[in-house]
């Protein structure tokens, strides 16, 4: 697809023409957001893109509508990730509060903000870049609650292959998690989700 650059007035017209469609797309995709929240997110994406259009020669590679759908999806996820951050804070025990410890503690919690979704996304991108789609499917099936024997049956592969894929995937995720998991809470979750005897 060939995309042409737009002037600000052209972009404004494009946005006015497509605003309703973008809000509808966002509302259908992220049902947790009400209409007003979708309007806010779409407007924020408009302002962000308009800024780009006004300062640089900006030309989305695969079309303006596709770019705007991608951008509003990213911004919606950013907002949802704030919940993830709060969820970790609510569920992980408060450490002993001692003078001088609070600042360091806040810093550690900030570092934990998007840990889980970031690591799982990184795992998916790694699988895509290395053509490891079978490992990704095994891992996703397991993460959604399927037992190894069920996975083997559904994918028509041996139980041994399932175990091998799961071990490699979990080792990679655990290693990445361990690097940044300050409280050990994410790792603890994985240990509960991935018991040794499956």
């Amino acid at each position: 697809m060939t995309t042409v650059a737009m002037s600000i007035s052209e972009f404004d017209s494009f946005f006015l023409e497509n605003r309703k469609e973008l809000c509808g797309f966002l509302r259908r995709k992220f049902s947790r957001f009400d209409h007003a929240a979708c309007e806010d997110l779409v407007h924020d994406a408009y302002v962000e893109t308009r800024e780009k259009v006004s300062h640089v020669f900006f030309q989305p590679e695969k079309g303006w509508l596709r770019y705007m759908r991608w951008l509003i999806s990213q911004r919606a996820k950013d907002r949802l990730r704030q919940h993830e951050s709060k969820a970790w804070s609510d569920l992980t025990p408060e450490p002993d509060s001692t003078p001088g410890n609070d600042v360091a503690e806040q810093e550690r919690r900030r570092g934990q903000v998007t840990l889980l979704s970031d690591i799982l996304q990184a795992f998916c991108r790694r699988c895509e870049s290395k053509d490891m789609h079978q490992q990704k499917e095994v891992f996703e099936r397991s993460s959604r609650g399927q037992k190894p024997v069920e996975i083997a049956q559904a994918m028509d592969i041996s139980r041994g292959s399932v175990d091998q894929h799961l071990k490699r995937a979990r080792d990679w995720v655990k290693e990445r998690t361990h690097r940044a998991d300050v409280h050990g809470s994410v790792l603890a979750t994985f240990h509960r989700l991935w018991p040794k005897k499956t």
Partner: protein, 71 residues
């Protein structure tokens, strides 16, 4: 009116994991790969996406696929 969204309630870390996968799309394929899948959905290299979109029923990717089909 202030923009609102339904805030999820979590009671366990496991519920956060499920939410991250289902609502945040942490296991979703990249948009580029999803578009390739849209063109050749039966290709063997897209078996993981067939599971993700079909059996697991990822609504995030479902909406992206609908939008891709319209443009």
């Amino acid at each position: 009116m202030t923009a609102q969204q339904q805030k999820p309630q979590f009671h366990s870390l496991g519920e956060v994991v499920t939410w991250v996968i289902e609502d945040l799309g942490a296991m979703c394929p990249s948009l580029e790969r999803l578009e390739k899948y849209c063109r050749t959905p039966d290709a063997p290299e897209f078996s993981d996406i067939r599971y993700h979109v079909g059996e697991a029923g990822c609504h995030l990717c479902g909406e992206d696929l609908s939008a891709t089909g319209q443009t």
